[in-house]
Symmetry: D2
Subunit: 371 residues, 4 copies
């Protein structure tokens, strides 16, 4: 008879989750007993490093990565990095050990008394299976949810005696081979309307964010920029470090400043701003003002409903960024305006960087003692 551990390895294998990033303690040892030869364990000695490696792996491969943490304090140490992964929309399947079930109610050492509450603010789903036999189904649910848009971390707490329990083999088998797909095409009517707005704009502009790269939309973004003769900007400081548009392309204009007033100034003279794959906008110091100049409208294309909902101005379409860009290229005619002027000069030197601590303090009218 298969154990829960064997059924879980089978499930992880079926989803390509054979690389495990972790920093185990004793509550994780039963998971590691008889670790299969085709699995690889990448050890980090502090949890921030472990989750950081997994986050990078997930971003680079475009597929979920598996994380193996120690009970409460181990998960606690990881929370800063899990916040980053959440902001980066990285699909991480995070597991943590837990005391044996029989000693949880008395809170024996290594019990996490509220295992699902700790990671919850920064994961899409947080769960401890109600029986050992449900571990494979919980891992499967976690995997699928992590990689459905908007991607992000998920968390499963596993009591240490679950791994050697006898599996419910039929249930584990049925859940193992599943394929879920959630790349969302844009609403056809909304996209046609957007194409019309692009065609009719006299001086439109494109802001291409990190999710253009994550979605595989780089070529479609270039095609759209060239077809519509769009000057292209990168959004202000984004979390993930991805680049949404080739910075060497003649249409590329630079990085938008990360504050309301200066950013709006940069957009002046453009009647339509199309933002794809980035929030509207990742401000940092608070310099008040209108988000958009008078006479400028904005359309956001994002795969994240929350990004669409919380934008302080402009309309939004929630859809896969690459599918939307590709469809848009097919709907707009070649513009007959001249291509945008190339970017005039290099970025300002770092000592006038508007994202500095001094700028943040100055914006608040504070004198900072930090050099």
């Amino acid at each position: 008879m298969a154990t829960v551990r064997e059924a879980s390895y089978e499930l992880l294998r079926a989803h390509g989750l054979t690389t495990v990033f972790g920093n185990p303690g004793s509550t994780e040892l039963p998971f590691l007993a008889g670790f299969p030869d085709d699995f690889r364990y990448v050890l980090g000695l502090q949890e921030a490093v472990v989750v950081g490696m997994a986050d990078g792996h997930a971003q680079a491969t475009g597929r979920p990565a598996l994380v193996n943490l120690h009970t409460a304090p181990g998960v606690g140490n990881a929370m800063g990095a899990i916040f980053n992964a959440f902001e980066n929309k990285s699909p991480l399947v995070i597991t943590a050990g837990q005391q044996v079930r029989a000693m949880m109610t008395m809170e024996a050492l290594l019990t996490d008394p509220g295992p699902t509450a700790l990671p919850r603010p920064f994961v899409k789903w947080s769960y401890e299976p109600p029986r050992a036999q449900d571990v494979p189904a919980a891992l499967a649910r976690a995997f699928h949810l992590a990689q459905l848009p908007p991607c992000g971390p998920v968390f499963v707490s596993v009591p240490m005696d679950d791994w050697s329990a006898e599996a419910d083999e039929p249930a584990a088998r049925q859940v193992t081979g599943r394929v879920t797909t959630g790349r969302a095409g844009p609403d056809p009517a909304a996209l046609r309307e957007l194409a019309g707005r692009l065609e009719n704009a006299s001086n439109p502009l494109l802001v291409a964010g990190p999710d253009v790269d994550a979605a595989g939309g780089w070529e479609a973004a270039v095609a759209l920029a060239e077809r519509c003769r769009l000057p292209v900007w990168a959004p202000p400081a984004s979390g993930s470090g991805r680049i949404g548009f080739p910075e060497g392309h003649p249409s590329f204009q630079g990085l938008l400043p990360p504050a309301i007033g200066p950013l709006a100034q940069t957009l002046e003279g453009h009647d339509l701003v199309l933002v794809v794959g980035a929030p509207v906008f990742t401000y940092y110091p608070y310099i008040p003002g209108p988000v958009l100049p008078e006479g400028t409208s904005l359309m956001l294309v994002t795969s994240d409903p929350d990004e669409a909902a919380r934008a302080p101005a402009g309309d939004a379409i929630v859809a896969d960024v690459a599918l939307a860009l590709e469809a848009l290229v097919g709907l707009v005619p070649q513009a007959d305006r001249p291509p945008p002027d190339p970017r005039p000069a290099p970025d300002p030197p770092p000592d006038s960087d508007p994202i500095s601590a001094q700028a943040a303090m100055a914006a608040l009218g504070e004198a900072s003692s930090v050099a």
Copy 2:
């Protein structure tokens, strides 16, 4: 200068939220002071009724409904109905009053000490704005998130002194006219593969759930059933009461039984089961067994990533149900098999209803004292 209340009314008006369902107490009076003539207040005398009315209104109109509850105990009374609205994926913008800001830290009477925690398990977003001036933006964010798929309730707590504060008019104006769209087209590659599976199946079957109706996909479902000669079943007990397929249609076969074993038996002989707009599956009594018969595969089309992730078997596409059905009709040829036999006989009489309490107890091997 406009007040926060005036700016909020303007925002609600712009989104068609001029009907308010509520049961107010004193913490809601400042919102109601000078209630505009073009707004309507539908009073309910217990919160379950208030939310139930709003839930039905939202489902019938296909648009968000506005709910106005009293601070902590009022929201508490509503939680059962908010759970239902969450299960029904009803877009409700729920507001509640709160003590004045100056007396919250000492927890004066009518303070909700954790206003965002109470509704959180069953709303998509729960918020108390950090300043009075942020109330319009919070309401806007709530509205947009509620109506982006998967739809659902959202919650905003508003301290009672916020309404008469002076608004940040430029910010309120920018957030007022926004339009967000999130009807997701299916991933083209995944849909083509599904069309191929449908074409090649020897005896496929359709399960049409309540979201077919919610999405406006009724006609496409009928067209698909007729084109592919599919027998059609309704899923087991769904929350919202919507019907996903005309029950008088000759292809309609009845309601699937709400337990694993009997349901799988009903699917026997079908090599492909296509479920649209329903979970896989809404079981109620626990009668163990495989979810699917040997040799049967399943594909789910749902607008809810969580439904896709937690299904115990089968593959899934996350997309708007109507867009997916319409696209599918265009991709499959007319089947040359005969139409399904009409439904042989009426439903069994209620005393053998497998969803009864007795059945649930019997499945657990318990003797029930409930008649």
Copy 3:
């Protein structure tokens, strides 16, 4: 072999929890199968009523009461009343049913997907046992925590298949007979200091709140008032309806007004205010001003650390109110000042009641349309 249900009944019986207040659905039936003859089930047809009855029962008997609710929507309906019980510091052991463990991960009908999150804001502890065998220990932990000061509701979610599982009899037996006591005597040094302040004050005043009654301190409060010649006031609107001091006693002065300004005015001329068994203070409309008049100091005696921590002014001793009053009577000499003047006149008529909605609106400078 005993079942979990039998072991649980035995535990409940040992703690006198043989009266069950409930509104069951099918998820609660397995608990009720073979309901013992020495137990009584008090049925309410809406959960607010059920919890309200249990709250009153617990307050009247001074002992925990047992509540039996239906899964998610049932608990949801009860949340308003659970908030009240939490404010009343009523020791309620609240249970709710849940789907069978095998169908929770797929969220079959009647699954509460986050059973411990829903009640958490207003209970002292919220738990779903990790195994059927842990149900008795979870109920025991819930019982003890509910009745240790500050008392309050606790919550245990029980999957419906747990009740008929085989119990871990030795563990259940060990947890059954436990006795826990937490009536806290006051810190001796702090109490001596308070006695000195009382002795040296020229015009001290007593505010006697509902917890005087809950703690059984009525006689000690009267003795202290008479010994120190204290005028006695009732605190502004308290949640539980208990009375902390005999209103017919000649020293009783009336009910303090529920707003900062008027309340402070009432305290004028008193150099020391002793508040026992009530928050400082349960304000309702916001009428700003200093909490205490110039030259007045305040000491609070409360059994609730949070009440002590959040008071906007004054010092505090956390202790059982009756034990503190009794000890205080033994430490202070008979005062030689005359007894306070009797209460001059009856309460103002209701149309000038400062707790009215109009007063709240007027305090905010709003015109209310509510009669």
Copy 4:
């Protein structure tokens, strides 16, 4: 006019919180602007270190320590150490920065979208003030709650523009000088009963845990052991590293083993076990068995209601450990039995340490690959 920062410094000064342990980012700079000369900032370069230092400082001084963390990822990094501080019952007042209020609803960079949820599982209170003017009252409430028993960490999130806002000086002044005391004397009746049980036991035993030291009860514990001729054990692995009894005392017997079976074996022959200042018990590997030998009863004295409630066996008194021990010494007569035999032999060598990972695995019947 004073700023919120000035009023807050005044409050912190009044409570002796002039040493700040922190790792600030830009969201904390406004708090640090004009940092007073009489304050000291102890910088740590990772949050686990920062909280660890503060935890040790609080334990060594017996007074709350102040922690200054960066917004979301900073608090996230600290969560492992905050869990430890919570287990250690260390009174930490933890603050974190937050974006300016005007940019929180749009979630600008450095916004913590759910600032109070992240630390909540492991703090006694988690709060973000509703207005800048409430920061001093929130810090005061946090301070008082942290140091009232059972002590523990508390959390206050402060938007970065709050510090330079104008303070509500009267409110800040009233909250500044407060003194709260919560050392709980034992219930007199329960203590008398315990004294009788001790007097009548034929072979009682004392387990002295870390809270004996924290409460300042070391001398009373020695006096009780000598008066009742008690053999004394230290509890299994406790979190805080405090020692509850002089290990060189002739009555000291060693460290109890951290597993149910072996621990119960160690207690055999003793009819009464008195545990003070420790949980019952901090087990680690799961070796099933009865918690107590046949014929042994147990009484726990703890300052933590939750410890009392969750013990798997025995009765409990919730009270300050030192006050209870001191009172107990006054109630029991000098025993006439001989003093316990001195500890027979040194501890077993580390390779048979029952708390090792191998032992944990062995107890689960697993082969561990970890050396």
